[in-house]
Symmetry: C2
DNA sequence: GATCTATTTGGCTATATTGCCAAGCAGTTG
DNA sequence: CAACTGCTTGGCAATATAGCCAAATAGATC
């Protein structure tokens, strides 16, 4: 694997890593419904606010969310709504692995 | 977050985690071109064979790849080719974040 | 400007991941 | 069945991640 490919895959992994946590997936899923302030997200996630803040900064650093300050509150939103396609990808894998119904994209005729 | 949602997101994170490593992304990308034996993948990745074998077992456990033994060799293949959509998702995020060209799915009119 | 509120950051410990080496295992060949 | 090949597993040390508490910061209100 040459250096160019190497760093290309590292960059991709960096973004995927940001999504590789249940709380962060939950946050992204919630933000898909609209802008939320940190306190709202914290209540929904049910963890310490400092923990949630760190999750948000990880998502932000990956370029997945963006924030906006208004008064005392900080509102987060999806910066790249296409990130929601991740859920579809994952579901396809789940369904393809005995998740009951077949995934549309992976369904096969035979066997 | 209730228990049902919790375990749903944990399950999703488990699959995404399996993709959250440069070498594993590279392996998936390579397998998209066809079946490969462990020795071929090892040569391409350029790591110890035991390391590659562990990466493969992680992908297998996540239901992303499947294997087949033939003589002494073990051949791996994509079990859920839809996993390739991940690359599209990630690229969209990259492009949306100053990656030069705009991502088709995230492109916006204004600003 | 003191105080309050919403959030971020630092520090820490617990846990998970990574990657190498060495050892084990399963087929193959002589 | 001994020796070899291709791969997997166990063990370990280095590094990264997670989540809590406490302290710091930024803006609002009195």
């Amino acid at each position: 694997m040459n250096a160019r490919k190497q760093s290309q895959f590292e960059e991709r992994a960096r973004i995927i890593k940001a999504m590789a946590h249940p709380s962060r997936l939950f946050i992204v899923d919630e933000l898909a419904r609209g802008e939320r302030c940190v306190c709202e997200i914290t209540a929904l996630v049910g963890a310490d606010i400092s923990t949630v803040s760190k999750h948000l900064s990880i998502l932000k650093k990956a370029g997945i969310v963006a924030d906006r300050k208004e008064g005392l509150m900080v509102y987060y939103r999806l910066k790249t709504p296409c990130i929601m396609q991740f859920f579809g990808c994952v579901e396809s894998v789940q369904k393809a692995n005995g998740g009951g119904r077949r995934a549309a994209c992976c369904a096969r005729g035979g066997r």
